[in-house]
Symmetry: C2
Subunit: 406 residues, 2 copies
């Protein structure tokens, strides 16, 4: 498996995309806000959505559209979440209709997604005008523009693609995502669209996505909130010409592993670009009684505001790490816990057998001043392992969220 | 029931206290950091502690000491949590011994508590020197000094007392607390000591405390973290001369109601003084299917970083309120949810039947600029009610926690 340079959602064969300034965002912005992705042919599809009981109308419409396991295109916008609106369903359906009409496909084969402010009526006029234009712009080079069009408070586009070989055929998987803010365990305001030219049944695609998401997107947290709009969808058009994956065979494993690595890469990108973030934090937990325990502990550490603020301040405050593990619900023997901080600048053990050890504050500071910090937790009580991804808590997070809506 | 002016932990009959600069905090500070509270006679006692698996040695020692339901004094310090230290138990026991020796009581009747940085060895020398002095300073006017001595990043002392009549006798209940930071649902770094001259069995005292804490301290959140040191203890010395409460009779109810009101008052003080806080946020949920659902929803709103940041920015971003209720696990019918913002400046309905309504942004801003904001949520789906207490998320929270330890 290898990552493709400048890989994106249009890297797999037979996919096109485009993103334009459609006017959903305030008229004084010059930011892309409507995008489409399409396959030349019908795809198998799978998707996972937020577990929030308050759901975007887009999710309700998408769920219905992909019930049969097929889809051919995605239409999405930023600037408005189309959530908690009395006419939300109608608007999401109209978005699908517009995409279908202009792409010459069935409206039941369109995935729709929205992200932005909750509870403001979504203006449909921008779509009526923009979608015909978008359809004309669709190209195999359009992935990046599509990635840009779903950004909200993101500061960088998130895109990547990987390549594998299945039975002598090159199979590509590409992805774009938007995250920032609200990102959490259960996928806070996260949109991600994955495409592949692999031939794979929708049942196996579902299984692969479910495995991949569990250790990637679901292990990301920026601030503990879970959004109303989170959607991760994958489309597979079979153009790679590999033998269709219909069982859990070796090809399924190769495909799932590659999808997992791609999703992990995207998850890290999302965490590193959390609102106001200056650092990516990875919490690696090893030696837990079970993988479930390891997950719980890793998530608790990554979600702790106090840990996040300490990392922002490059303060080796390992007591907060222990505190978070302690309330995580993870079954631990405190007297066996070791904690180290690791980065490109080195590694330092700060807690051994649940108690502090003497360490160089200077070296600790140097390590914590790096952009990517790993909090390495060893529970020494079993074989359970997990990794979670988060970011530091900064002044800018407060600034961005104290005045986002207006 | 009435609140007593300048009420504190020494307001009930027969209690004395003192707090001094003992030198646990860095030598360049002139802040009180060691305190004692004592009763002239043996008390019945009850306490609740953090649910964090990582626990301060002080909690382990206290649990053992109060197993028999009696206690006579409290010794506590700020500046060091005495948690995750190999010699922690030994140090906590020595604190009890010192208190007992100097107060002329049994060391098994001492409650010990510590708050501050985790994982740094607690120096015992300051106690050896300070406790004899403290014992001499003990007085019925010492409650405020004791309150001061447990402050960490608190900006104000927290103390209050209430008075009730039981069978013609005046019964007083007094309390001090320290909170800030880490405050959460399960009592993040919170110490609170409550005293009363009521005559009440330790069994009934436990029952009363358990009822009171459920709707007060346990409904407070500042940042979602749960501390390793949280302790809430109550001492009852019977000096009021009321007939001892040994069953769930009318006196028990009067006592428990008063204790609950006192604890709610303290809980609000804790929330309002959360680290960096500029505003107290109360989330009132009514009409839930059950009280349990109402609690879950109220806590989720109060714990949401996005809601907290929006309130800091005086932004009527009600979508975030719905989002938090949506992921709270509370069983709701989204299409029935109403949300209003309420403060001394007025009241404004922003969401009706789960969808946005038109409202004056100007009035909303005026309402949200106040120091105490109530987020009023009506689920219109039953009789379950709950109130949770929190604060806004500010630049100062990040500042305080980015560099607290060093």
């Amino acid at each position: 498996m290898k990552f493709i340079e400048n890989g994106t959602v249009t890297s797999p064969k037979g996919f096109t995309a485009a993103g334009i300034i459609g006017g959903v965002k305030p008229s004084n912005t010059t930011k892309r806000d409507i995008m489409m992705i399409a396959s030349d042919t019908l795809c198998t599809t799978a998707a996972v959505f937020t577990k929030n009981l308050v759901k975007s109308s887009a999710i309700i419409v998408t769920k219905k559209n992909i019930e049969n396991g097929t889809a051919q295109a995605v239409i999405a916008n930023s600037g408005n979440a189309n959530t908690c609106n009395a006419d939300g369903i109608e608007k999401s359906e109209r978005m699908c209709e517009l995409a279908a009409e202009n792409l010459g496909i069935d409206k039941k084969d369109v995935i729709v997604a929205s992200t932005g402010v909750i509870g403001q009526v979504l203006p449909i006029e921008p779509f009526e005008k923009a979608v015909p234009q978008l359809a004309k712009l669709m190209s195999a080079e359009g992935g990046s523009d599509a990635a840009e069009a779903i950004m909200t408070t993101d500061t960088v586009k998130k895109e990547a693609a990987v390549e594998i070989e299945l039975g002598g055929k090159i199979v590509t998987i590409g992805a774009i995502a938007k995250g920032s803010g609200m990102i959490h365990i259960n996928m806070g305001t996260m949109l991600s669209f994955v495409t592949t030219d692999a031939a794979i049944s929708s049942e196996m695609l579902k299984a692969a996505l479910s495995e991949a998401v569990e250790v990637s997107y679901n292990m990301v947290s920026v601030d503990g909130d879970t959004s109303t709009n989170d959607t991760l969808a994958i489309l597979a058009n079979g153009k790679a010409g590999n033998e269709e994956i219909t069982t859990r065979n070796a090809d399924f494993k190769t495909f799932t592993d590659a999808l997992t690595e791609l999703c992990k890469k995207m998850a890290k990108k999302l965490a590193a670009d959390g609102e106001g973030a200056t650092k990516l934090i990875v919490c690696s937990v090893k030696g837990a009684k079970t993988a479930h325990d390891a997950k719980g502990a890793a998530k608790a550490v990554i979600c702790s505001s106090l840990v996040k603020a300490a990392i922002f301040g490059s303060d080796a405050n390992w007591g907060r790490v222990l505190c978070a593990i302690g309330y995580s619900g993870c079954d631990i023997d405190v007297s066996r816990v070791d904690v180290s901080f690791v980065s490109a600048a080195g590694e330092i053990l700060v807690c051994k057998d649940g108690s502090g050890v003497e360490f160089s504050e200077e070296l600790a500071k140097t390590i914590l001043l790096e952009k990517e910090i790993t909090i390495d937790v060893r529970l020494n009580d079993g074989d359970g392992e997990a990794e979670a991804y988060g970011c530091d808590l900064t002044y800018d997070y407060v600034k961005i969220n104290g005045d986002y809506r207006t």
